[in-house]
C-alpha cells in the first residue's frame, strides 16, 4: 500500500468534473443574515448530488474513478468505482481524489459520513474521509486503513465535531494504492451524511495522549504533534481517525511563558512554566505539554574555525556533511529521545531521557586522516550530581566503510566534573591523536554519546577540524594569490604574473628529486618529490637590484630540512633556511634579498633548493 501522504495539487479529469446541477441553497436575497447553506446529506446515491464535482490527486491515475452502472449496492442505478493501479503503472501510483461541492453545505446536523462498500478482494483503504476541499482542508478528517472486503457492507466515518461543519465543501476524500503491489477495484455507494446518534465517547488527543514535559527558551517554536481522534462505533469498537488541527482549540495556561496559535504552533516567550492543552468542542483532549522555559537562551559559542579546515556534523556555522541520523534509537536499551529545537535561527540538538545516543554519518564515512580534533559543544540544563560522567565514543568503520565486518574500531573519551558543568556551554576539543583505540581515522562513521546521571543535554557545533597540526601530504587549497602589483614584480614561477621566459624548472643537475608541475585547486604548482636538491635555471640572467625581497609560497607535510639558494656566476651561492614542516598549510615568505649576500643580485642565473621530503612551491618572484 502506498503511504498516506496526500498530494494537494488539483487536476481535473478530462471527462467528468464539476457537474453544476443548480444550487440547492435557497436564500432570500433580501435577508441580510449570514448565509445558511444547504443541509442536503446526499453525496452520491445514484449519481452526483447537486453541485458535486470530482478532482483527482496529482500522481494518481486520473481515470481511476468511474461511475459504474453495473455493480451497485442494492441494484441501484449507479455506484462509484475506483480502479486501483498495480505498482509501476505508468498512469499513476494510486487511485485518489476528492468529491467536493461548489457551494458549501451545512453538515452540522449530522454525526457521520456513511457509505456501502465492497472490493474485488479484501483490502485496506489508505485514506477515506471528508473535509478536503483542495483549499485549506481546514476540517479534514479521515480513517487511515479502512478494511473492506468482497461483500457489500456499510461503513461509518464519524464527524469529530459537526458543529464546525457549517460551510463544508469537501464531501468525500479517497486515496488508495496497490495492495501488496497489486491493483484491484472497489466500489462505494449510497454515500451520505447521517445523524446516527450511536457514536459515543469521542476523544481527541494531542501528543498521542502523552503528558510530555520539555525544556524551552525564548524564541523556541515547536508544533503540537500526535493529534488523533478516537470514537466508539455503534458496534462498540473504537475507531481512530486523523483529524486536522483546526478541530481543536489550544490553550496555554501561562501565555507570558508561551503562546499557542490556532494551528498548534507553540512559541516560547518568557521564563517560567506553562501547560499546553487542547479541547474538541467542550471536551478536553488527552495529552499535554508542560514547557519549562529558562527564558533567554544562551547560544553555544560561535565557531571560529576556517570552514576549509572543518568537517561539520551538526552546526549552523558550517555546511554539514550528509548525516544519516542524529538519534539512532538503538534498541532495546536506548532510552534517549530527541526534542531538538531551533532558537534564534540556531538549531540545537536536545537529547532527553538520556542514557546513550548515536549519530551516524556513514554515507559516506568521513576521512579523518587530515583532521586533528573533534569539537562538541554541550549544555547540561540539570544540576550536576556526584558520579556524573559524559563519554564521547568515536567509531571508525574500517576499510569496508560499513558497520561490522571485524574492522571497526572505536575510542571512548570520558569527561566528568569539573569539566562537566551545569547551565553553561561546555566546549570539548578532543585530539584525535589521543584516541588510541582508533586503528584508523579514514572511515569515521559514528559518534556515540554515553552518560551517567545526565537526564538531558543539548548539543551543538559537532565538527571535526584541523588546527593545523595535521598537514595533508598534498595541499587541499591553492597557494595564496599574490597581491603585489605586477609592475613591482619579476616573476619566476606564478600563474598570477608573466614569468621570465625560457626558464628550465627541472634542469638535470644529477639530482634524485622528482620534479613535476601539478594542479592544486586550479593552480599550477611545482612539486619536488623526494628532494635531495633541485635547481631552477632562469631563461635569462636577472638583475634584481631594484627589488627588495624574494617571495616564496611553500608547503610540506614531511620535510625536516629545506633551504633556498640564489646563484650568480662563479658560481656564487647563498642559502637561506626555511622553516619546515609548514604547520597550518601554505606558508608565504618574503626573504630580504640582503640575506643572500654575497650573491651578485645584478646577475642572477639560477636558484636551488635542498633538503628532504616532498615540497610544493608556488609564486616564486622578486618584488619591491
Amino acid at each position: 500500500m502506498k503511504s498516506n501522504h496526500i498530494i494537494l495539487t488539483f487536476k481535473t479529469l478530462a471527462f467528468s468534473v464539476w457537474l453544476f446541477v443548480g444550487l440547492s441553497c435557497e436564500n432570500d436575497p433580501k435577508d441580510f443574515q449570514q448565509a445558511t447553506y444547504s443541509k442536503n446529506p446526499e453525496v452520491f446515491i445514484d449519481g452526483f448530488s447537486p453541485t458535486l464535482g470530482y478532482g483527482a490527486f496529482s500522481g494518481s491515475v486520473l481515470t481511476a474513478f468511474q461511475v459504474d452502472n453495473e455493480v451497485t449496492y442494492n441494484n441501484s442505478a449507479a455506484s462509484m468505482r475506483f480502479d486501483v493501479p498495480s505498482v509501476n503503472d505508468p498512469d499513476g501510483t494510486y487511485a485518489g481524489g476528492v468529491f467536493l461541492t461548489s457551494v458549501p453545505r451545512d453538515l452540522s446536523g449530522y454525526d457521520a459520513l456513511t457509505f456501502w462498500a465492497k472490493a474485488t478482494k479484501t483490502a485496506s483503504l489508505d485514506v477515506v474521509g471528508f473535509g478536503n476541499d483542495f483549499g485549506l482542508n481546514k476540517y479534514q478528517a479521515s480513517i487511515n486503513g479502512l478494511n473492506i472486503n468482497t461483500t457489500w457492507k456499510k461503513y461509518i466515518i464519524p464527524l469529530p465535531d459537526a458543529s464546525k461543519l457549517k460551510a463544508e465543501k469537501g464531501m468525500l476524500l479517497v486515496s488508495e494504492g496497490p495492495e501488496n503491489g497489486a491493483g484491484y477495484s472497489f466500489w462505494l455507494d449510497d454515500v451520505k451524511f447521517e445523524k446516527l446518534g450511536t457514536l459515543a465517547h469521542g476523544q481527541a488527543s494531542i501528543f498521542a495522549g502523552d503528558n510530555k514535559t520539555e525544556t524551552s527558551f525564548n524564541g523556541v517554536q515547536t508544533n503540537i504533534s500526535g493529534i488523533q481522534y478516537v470514537v466508539n462505533l455503534p458496534n462498540g469498537i473504537n475507531q481512530s481517525m486523523s483529524i486536522s488541527s483546526s478541530y481543536l482549540d489550544f490553550v496555554s495556561s501561562n501565555p507570558a511563558v508561551a503562546t499557542v496559535d490556532a494551528s498548534g504552533v507553540i512559541s516560547t516567550l518568557g521564563q517560567g512554566t506553562t501547560v499546553i492543552t487542547a479541547s474538541l468542542g467542550s471536551e478536553s483532549a488527552a495529552g499535554s505539554l508542560t514547557l519549562n522555559s529558562f527564558g533567554t537562551f544562551v547560544n553555544a559559542p560561535l565557531p571560529t574555525r576556517d570552514p576549509s579546515t572543518v568537517k561539520s556534523i551538526f552546526s549552523n556555522a558550517y555546511t554539514n556533511v550528509p548525516v544519516k541520523y542524529y538519534n539512532g534509537y538503538y534498541e532495546p536499551y536506548q532510552t534517549t529521545r530527541s526534542a531538538d529545537f531551533t532558537v534564534g535561527g540556531d538549531d540545537v540538538l536536545n537529547y532527553t531521557n538520556f542514557n546513550f545516543v548515536g549519530i551516524e554519518f556513514s554515507e559516506p564515512t568521513i576521512d579523518g586522516s587530515n583532521l586533528s580534533h573533534l569539537h562538541v559543544d554541550l549544555f547540561m540544563p540539570n544540576p550536576i550530581v556526584a558520579g556524573t560522567t559524559f563519554k564521547v565514543n568515536l567509531v571508525d568503520f574500517g576499510a569496508n566503510a560499513a558497520f561490522g565486518g571485524g574492522d571497526d574500531t572505536n575510542h571512548v573519551t570520558t569527561f566528568s566534573p569539573p569539566t562537566i558543568v551545569s547551565q553553561n556551554w561546555i566546549s570539548l576539543n578532543i585530539p584525535l591523536s589521543s584516541m588510541t583505540g582508533l586503528a584508523s581515522k579514514a572511515h569515521l562513521a559514528q559518534i556515540i554519546f554515553e552518560g551517567t546521571n545526565i537526564p538531558n543535554f543539548y548539543a551543538d557545533n559537532i565538527y571535526f577540524y584541523n588546527d593545523g597540526s595535521v598537514i595533508p601530504a598534498t595541499p587541499t587549497v591553492a597557494a595564496p594569490t599574490p597581491t603585489t602589483p605586477a609592475a613591482n614584480v619579476i616573476s619566476i614561477f606564478s600563474n598570477a604574473y608573466t614569468n621570465v621566459a625560457g626558464s628550465d624548472y627541472n634542469p638535470n643537475w644529477g639530482q634524485a628529486t622528482v620534479t613535476t608541475q601539478v594542479n592544486i585547486a586550479g593552480n599550477t604548482t611545482l612539486k619536488y618529490a623526494g628532494l635531495n636538491y633541485q635547481g631552477l635555471q632562469f631563461g635569462t640572467p636577472q638583475n634584481v637590484t631594484s627589488k627588495n625581497f624574494l617571495h616564496l609560497d611553500y608547503y610540506t607535510a614531511n620535510s625536516t630540512s629545506l633551504k633556498v639558494y640564489l646563484i650568480s656566476p662563479g658560481p656564487v651561492e647563498k642559502a637561506v633556511v626555511l622553516t619546515v614542516p609548514t604547520t597550518g598549510g601554505w606558508r608565504s615568505i618574503d626573504i630580504p634579498l640582503t640575506s643572500f649576500s654575497p650573491v651578485n643580485l645584478s646577475n642572477l642565473i639560477q636558484m636551488k633548493f635542498d633538503g628532504n621530503g616532498t615540497i610544493f612551491l608556488d609564486n616564486i618572484y622578486f618584488r619591491d
Binding site: G197, A200, H201, N232, P234, N235, G236, I237, N238
Partner: protein
C-alpha cells in the same frame, strides 16, 4: 445470566422501536418505596454493607458462563464516586491468573422481595465482550438450585451492541439458550451515552420490562413452557462481566477500563 447460552436468542414479538404500538405506556400505579440505595456517600467508599454483599473470585466455570473476570471488592473495581453514583469498573489487568477484574454485588440475605417494581438508573459500559447486568435471582437458590429458583434479568447489554438492552427470565424448562427474552433498541442513541432507567413490574401473573418508562416486553404466566416460579422473594445483583459464551470475549480493540455508573436502585411494592 446463570447458564450457558448455546446460541443467541431473540424471542417474542414485542421488540422496541415500534412507535406505532399503542398501549406501551401503562397506567401508573401507586408504588410504595420499600428499599433503595441512592449511593450517596464519600468518593472511594464501598457500597453500604447493610444493603450489599459481594460475589468474589472467578466462580465455578466463570460463573457458569466461562466469564474471564476476577471479581474483587477493591475500590478500583467498585466504589462510590462521591457524586451520588456507584461505579463498577472492569479493568484489564493480570490479577490472580485472570486477565480482567471487575465487581459483582448482591442483596442476598440482606433484602429480597416477591412482586413489585425493581428499577436501576445507570450508564452502561460498552465494547466487545463487556457484559453489564442488573438482575434478580430467586432467594431459595441454595435449597432448590438454579434454574428452579428462577432468574429475572432486568437489564443485560452486550457491549458490542450498546444500543440494545435484553430483558429475560430463566426458569425450569426454559433456561440458558431457551430462556424467554426480549430486547429493546434505542434509535439514535446508546445506553452508554447517558443514564437510562431499567425496570420490571412484577405481579403474580406477569412480568413487565421497561426502559425509560417504555414497556417493551410483557411475559405472562402462560408464555412460559415450564413452571412459573416467580412467586417467591428474589434478591438483586449488579455486575459487569467480561467475556464468556453469552457475548464472546473482548478483543485488543475493546476499550478499558469500562465503567457501569449506577445512580440508584429502588424497589417498590
Amino acid at each position: 445470566m446463570k447458564k450457558i447460552f448455546l446460541f443467541s436468542i431473540v424471542a417474542l414479538s414485542m421488540t422496541g422501536c415500534n412507535s406505532d404500538d399503542k398501549g406501551q405506556q401503562i397506567d401508573s400505579r401507586n408504588w410504595q418505596l420499600v428499599w433503595s440505595d441512592e449511593f450517596d456517600g464519600a468518593s472511594g467508599d464501598l457500597p453500604d454493607a447493610s444493603k450489599w454483599g459481594f460475589d468474589l473470585g472467578t466462580g465455578a466455570n466463570g460463573w457458569g458462563n466461562q466469564e474471564l473476570q476476577h471479581y474483587t471488592n477493591r475500590p478500583q473495581n467498585i466504589a462510590l464516586d462521591g457524586a451520588g453514583n456507584l461505579v463498577i469498573t472492569a479493568l484489564k489487568e493480570n490479577y490472580q491468573s485472570s486477565q480482567y477484574t471487575s465487581a459483582r454485588i448482591k442483596t442476598q440475605n440482606l433484602f429480597s422481595q416477591a412482586y413489585g417494581r425493581f428499577e436501576a438508573r445507570l450508564i452502561s459500559p460498552y465494547g466487545q465482550g463487556i457484559w453489564p447486568a442488573f438482575w434478580l435471582l430467586g432467594a431459595n437458590i441454595d435449597t432448590v438450585s438454579w434454574p428452579a429458583c428462577g432468574e429475572i434479568d432486568v437489564m443485560e447489554i452486550k457491549g458490542q451492541q450498546p444500543s440494545i438492552v435484553n430483558g429475560t427470565i430463566h426458569g425450569p424448562g426454559y433456561s440458558g439458550a431457551n430462556a424467554i427474552s426480549g430486547r429493546y433498541a434505542l434509535q439514535y442513541d446508546r445506553f452508554d451515552k447517558g443514564y437510562h432507567l431499567f425496570a420490571i413490574e412484577w405481579d403474580a401473573d406477569k412480568i413487565d420490562f421497561f426502559v425509560d418508562g417504555y414497556l417493551y416486553q410483557r411475559i405472562e404466566k402462560s408464555d412460559v413452557p415450564g413452571e412459573w416460579v416467580y412467586d417467591h422473594p428474589f434478591f438483586m445483583i449488579l455486575n459487569v462481566a467480561v467475556g464468556g459464551n453469552y457475548l464472546g470475549n473482548p478483543t485488543n480493540d475493546t476499550p478499558f477500563p469500562q465503567k457501569m455508573t449506577i445512580d440508584y436502585v429502588r424497589v417498590y411494592r
